[in-house]
Subunit: 453 residues, 2 copies
């Protein structure tokens, strides 16, 4: 915050050379943050104070509204100067947010080869490994000596997203090995790349799911991962920073979907009220509608409830315990699925586990509840119409609801994933609605049977 | 799976040299996975087939039950051979899971300096930067030439967790710069480290929260982060793979806590039924108890409900809409807090935003519901006792509940964080209980006032 005040003061006083010196002492990400806070009409002016390379780094870190503002102000020379400094994957990220006329201006200034790479990456599906990869990596041949390989890095490294992991291919561009700069520095200079390269390579295919790719980074502690096409030819690499973004985005998306919100990657404080409303209201309407079915079930048993008024008071407890128990199971399974710990083939192990947990929980909850109603509501408060038979109906319902909840909660997300639906979407509207209805139906069926209503 | 079958077959046939050849073609993480699946009595035998360095790498990746099994079988020479190959932070992770007698055996074999580092790291609080850092980093002096620096890396690099980011200190061990191997390789060999080092350093303090440290990696795309003590002396570094683990663990923990589960880092399929039960049942009991309060509120208004039976059918809809609306807000705010996007100082911006979203949602939901009850329940089904006045009571309650839910849902997590409670814990038991009670109280107060009950 002090930085921002200093910058604002220098700008107001038009001390531009001091502005420049100040900005040079900051890193790109912090500058991008500071620039979101200054008046928009000063943005272009301040941006022009930055040296070319830093300007490009700052540009990548800005949000798309600001990038658009700058692009509008840029002349063609400035526009191409910025985009020539960018890595292809960053260019693609920016292009995806821009309207067509801006995209045309950007592409016009890039050379044919870059344009081709951009178009290729743009064509991969949004959630694929191809869409998050970069084509700028260090490419080595097995016959090179370490000394030669290091000169290749020195010559071409400045344009590569990472130099630390280098990729070795045969003449047909098939990936045959991986070698790190660490291995090169720690080996004899006259060894060849073929001698020291690792041939057992963890890799991904262009169309693999980006979440699965990101999980490989977590599992193997990778810094970069090669991506090959259908014919096993190396086409790009994914770096760890993009993998971190995917992991965080995906778990954020899971959390939003499970809370019945249409996922958005935009930070909350930067999202408009109307957009937040749009992301939340459809789900609330759907769930409100489905809750009216629960209401209809209750209406259908109105006469039973009128005959045994004590039954009504336990409805919220039964419904909420069912919902809570179910969401414990669904959350556990949804997280397991998205971390790759649970697969479809585990479905019977999961069900068997949840049945046993369900029985344990059912016995504990029903037991505790039976004693509580008996001691507190019947003996102490002497609640009218509340008999041990009613207590039994409530607690048997509770036990059956809990076991059903565990089963439904663990099964639906796995089935959803199998038919390529987002498992998280099962959590909020579907599972709770099903459980609400099931618990009430069990309740009224048991009440009718046992209490002779 | 094929790999496992092959290994099992080779073991059954006692073809140990082929087992060795097979294992050497695999990477450490996959070997560790394979070893969890073979019969425990063969574990030590297979482990002894691995060369020393690979054996240590595999050991780190195993789960603690298996590590314990191996340690029991190791003689002292083997034990020390394995632990001498490990990085200090990995040793600490293992020690934390072991019983005291095993820890003694492990520490007995390490040299005095390593033992000191281990004890230091063990002393940092569990959720601090100190607890996840490593002390094995490359240490350079500003006067070194790049050529000298590269020889330091060649000499000492094999024992360092990363060589790609090196740290420059003054004679008092204060951190004064950071230099990457990329910068070294791309600069003139006779430049000095002082010339090319970056002096504007993103760093953490030993006692900083590990989640905030991990967020720095995400924000700045870091590969490693230096950690300094109270006097700004460099004491260790955190590497990106540990930061990824923290990010995933923390979001996993958030998801569990929000689903009312005591968090556990153990994979679901490897957790016993009894442990799962223990992590889930206390919260279910608490929430069941709190739901009985809701039941008591309903009992208190039994005569009103008996006079206007139509009112009962809307209770589930009102309660669930309140809960769903509230959990949308709390999930959004909890995620924002843990990603560092929302701070305590934003509380009024958040409240103002949620009030506006709440009013929009309230108007939409209450409007839709009013029309639905009017057209469907009153005009079409001619439900007994359901008048436009009852409709009005339901919809005004709905609107007020929705606005309250948004307010409570966004405020409580921020306040929880302020008083150093986990914001996620607010979501499940507290917010839903409050909202259930509030919606019922509003409902019955309005019903009594408007319907003259």
């Amino acid at each position: 915050m002090e930085d921002l005040e200093l910058l604002t003061e220098l700008l107001t006083d038009k001390k531009y050379s001091q502005v420049r010196t100040f900005l040079l002492s900051q890193n790109a990400i912090d500058i991008a943050y500071l620039l979101t806070e200054i008046p928009p009409e000063k943005l272009l002016l301040v941006f022009r104070l930055l040296p070319k390379e830093l300007a490009a780094e700052v540009f990548v870190e800005m949000d798309s509204d600001q990038q658009m503002l700058l692009i509008k102000g840029f002349n063609d020379t400035e526009l191409h100067a910025v985009f020539n400094e960018l890595f292809v994957d960053d260019t693609v990220d920016i292009i995806e947010e821009m309207p067509a006329n801006v995209v045309k201006r950007i592409l016009a200034g890039t050379d044919a080869e870059t344009r081709k790479s951009i178009n290729e990456i743009l064509n991969y599906p949004d959630d694929s490994a191809g869409s998050i990869m970069t084509v700028e990596f260090v490419h080595l041949k097995p016959a090179m000596t370490i000394h030669q390989a290091l000169s290749v890095i020195k010559k071409t490294g400045v344009d590569k997203e990472t130099i630390y992991t280098c990729y070795v291919t045969d003449p047909n561009r098939h990936l045959i090995g991986v070698v790190t700069v660490k291995d090169m520095l720690l080996s004899e200079e006259n060894a060849t790349i073929g001698d020291i390269m690792e041939e057992n390579i963890i890799h991904a295919h262009t169309l693999d799911d980006r979440e699965e790719v990101a999980n490989l980074f977590r599992e193997y502690g990778l810094m970069a991962l090669p991506v090959v096409d259908n014919e096993d030819r190396l086409v790009g690499i994914v770096t760890y920073d993009d993998a971190i973004d995917v992991l965080v985005e995906e778990s954020d998306e899971d959390a939003q979907v499970m809370a019945a919100i249409t996922p958005s990657a935009k930070p909350y404080l930067k999202t408009g009220v109307f957009d937040i409303w749009k992301n939340r209201i459809p789900w609330l309407l759907i769930m409100m509608l489905s809750a009216t079915f629960t209401g209809m079930i209750i209406s259908g048993f109105e006469s039973a409830l009128a005959a045994q008024v004590a039954l009504t008071a336990f409805i919220p407890m039964l419904m909420s315990t069912g919902g809570n128990t179910g969401s414990q199971s669904s959350t556990t399974v949804i997280r397991g699925l998205s971390m790759g710990e649970v697969e479809f083939s585990d479905i019977f192990r999961v069900i068997w586990k949840e049945i046993r947990v369900g029985v344990l929980c059912a016995v504990t909850l029903a037991g505790a509840n039976f004693i509580k109603i008996w001691l507190f509501d019947i003996l102490l408060l002497k609640t009218e119409g509340l008999t041990l038979w009613v207590d039994a109906v409530v607690c048997i319902t509770l036990a059956l609801t809990v076991i059903t909840a565990k089963l439904v909660g663990c099964t639906l997300p796995i089935l959803a994933k199998k038919i390529k639906l987002d498992p998280a979407v099962m959590a909020a509207p579907f599972i709770t609605t099903i459980l609400d209805a099931v618990s009430l139906l069990i309740y009224f069926a048991l009440a009718s049977a046992i209490l002779d209503l």
